[in-house]
């Protein structure tokens, strides 16, 4: 018991609901600037929070430009490189992307970017649907420690972290809790 108590983590707030809203709205503006042909853009969220974030960015783009950007879901579980190393497996969701992808820009959307392995798996998954003109990456928080040559195009917040720290994100739609992000330190 004492052991557990000593290990109890410290939570440091990073983003509150308003900061998350502003960050995603800014990302929406940047996507509009960087993509003159918005109708060719697909926001592909990685379950579960990436899907919610993709929908919110799409809603901001609609608010700003009155254009409906398509959203999709890209589940990476079956494309990961660590199969056979885990003692338990989470449920895999069906991927859903508007087809064909040939002349489109697919923007992968996730809550936290860390090693980059999930994004690699997402790019692999997207390739099995077709050959998009471009693939880009949008994340709410970039915490560093990349293990692959991957760099986000749109970042909500840059946050240098230590590997023993953890980032927690909560979103109203997927977690039934108020929007928040915080850092946990052991």
């Amino acid at each position: 018991m004492n052991q557990t108590r000593q290990k109890a983590s410290v939570a440091v707030p990073i983003l509150d609901a308003e900061a998350i809203r502003r960050a995603l709205r800014r990302i929406a503006h940047e996507i509009i600037e960087g993509n003159p042909r918005l109708e060719k853009v697909v926001l592909a969220g990685i379950p579960s929070r990436g899907v919610q974030i993709a929908r919110r960015i799409a809603a901001f783009i609609h608010e700003i430009e009155n254009i409906d950007v398509e959203t999709g879901v890209i589940d990476v579980a079956m494309h990961r490189d660590d199969v056979g190393t885990r003692r338990e497996l989470p449920v895999v969701r069906a991927s859903k992307l508007p087809l064909p992808l040939e002349d489109r820009t697919v923007i992968i959307v996730d809550d936290v970017l860390y090693t980059g392995r999930t994004v690699r798996a997402a790019m692999d998954a997207i390739s099995s649907f077709g050959r998009p003109a471009r693939i880009q990456l949008a994340v709410l928080i970039d915490r560093g420690h990349r293990e692959l040559p991957i760099r986000p195009d749109y970042i909500g917040k840059n946050l240098p972290t230590a590997t023993r720290e953890q980032i927690q994100v909560r979103l109203q739609e997927s977690d039934n809790e108020p929007d928040a992000a915080w850092l946990e330190r052991q």
Binding site: A77, M78, G84, R87, E88, L89, S128
Partner: protein, 309 residues
């Protein structure tokens, strides 16, 4: 709902919880989607070796597992009873140990003895998937039946499912009974008293020897193949009499509700348990079962084969 899968083996539905069954069905949704992509292959089991070890002959189940493994990027070898050393007197355990010495990761086993998959699962590090053992269980067939019902009717709880035919010798029936009851369906077994004894009521199902009394309230009818090869004469007066009493003829199919699903695990004996017109009719989902079987087996191989052992 369970949010995690932790089993290396799939031996039967009897030992799975309702949550685990639902977990497999939800995972199947994701793998069914893979079949609609440009590239119908994912790297989930890349570098893994799957052995299809079929001590009893089977073409469709073996082919379905084989294609499922290909779509998951696993390497596959097929061993059949006649080609294996079982005919030279090697024991099941020794054969299996030899397969493991080749570093097989997943063993898909079809065997005439009930319990053979359990026997191997207890002794091997590899994942063991039961592809049918004696008259015991055939879990992937029941899972694809459940998936097809859930896909077509959007639910399973509360539905009335009639399983018709050779229940006594049927591992398909047993696995279906366990799965359907766990997910809240009402199950009626229909057939001659020699093939559908009253003892089955102990499992929590109803038993009827009169098909015409059951068809009008059924939401699903699952027709089992009459297994000529397993029958001894005393169970079975003759094909003609069976058709007259229990065959799903065109005439009898009129008793069914318009939205009742007609299922059959295949291969069908046209004109015996089911009329040709009925098998090809609008209510028939027999070919959906084949398509879904592939997705279910991908899900099962991914889940059991993807667990660290």
């Amino acid at each position: 709902m369970t949010t995690r899968w932790t089993r290396k083996d799939l031996l039967g539905l009897r030992e799975l919880s309702a949550d685990e069954i639902t977990f497999v069905l939800e995972t199947t949704d994701a793998f069914k989607q893979v079949g609609t992509r440009d590239i119908k292959k994912v790297p989930a089991l890349r570098g893994k070796t799957l052995v299809n070890f079929f001590v009893e002959p089977s073409t469709r189940t073996r082919t379905s597992f084989e294609l499922a493994a290909f779509r998951l990027s696993a390497d596959v070898i097929n061993i059949s009873a006649t080609a294996s050393s079982l005919t030279k007197g090697e024991t099941l355990k020794d054969t299996a140990r030899n397969l493991e010495a080749l570093h097989a990761d997943i063993l898909v086993l079809r065997h005439s003895s009930a319990g053979a998959p359990q026997f191997l699962a207890n002794r091997l590090k590899a994942s063991v998937i039961n592809a049918g053992d004696g008259a015991h269980e055939h879990p992937t067939q029941a899972l694809l039946d459940l998936y097809t019902i859930r896909e077509k009717r959007k639910k399973i709880a509360g539905l009335h499912v009639a399983i018709i035919g050779d229940i006594l010798f049927s591992r398909v029936a047993r696995s279906n009974i366990f799965g359907l009851l766990k997910l809240g369906a009402r199950v009626t077994l229909v057939g001659p008293s020699t093939l559908v004894p009253r003892e089955f009521e102990k499992l929590g199902v109803e038993v009827s020897h009169k098909i015409d009394n059951v068809l009008p309230s059924a939401d699903v009818v699952n027709l089992l193949r009459i297994q000529h090869e397993r029958q001894r004469r005393e169970y079975f007066p003759g094909i003609g009499e069976y058709v007259r009493l229990f065959g799903l003829t065109k005439e009898r199919a009129k008793l069914l509700k318009p939205d009742c699903l007609i299922m059959h695990p295949g291969p069908i004996n046209r004109g015996v348990e089911i009329d040709s017109d009925v098998a090809d009719g609008l209510q028939s989902v027999i070919l959906d079962q084949v398509t879904n079987g592939l997705a279910v087996r991908m899900a099962v191989l991914y889940l059991c084969g993807g667990i660290a052992t």
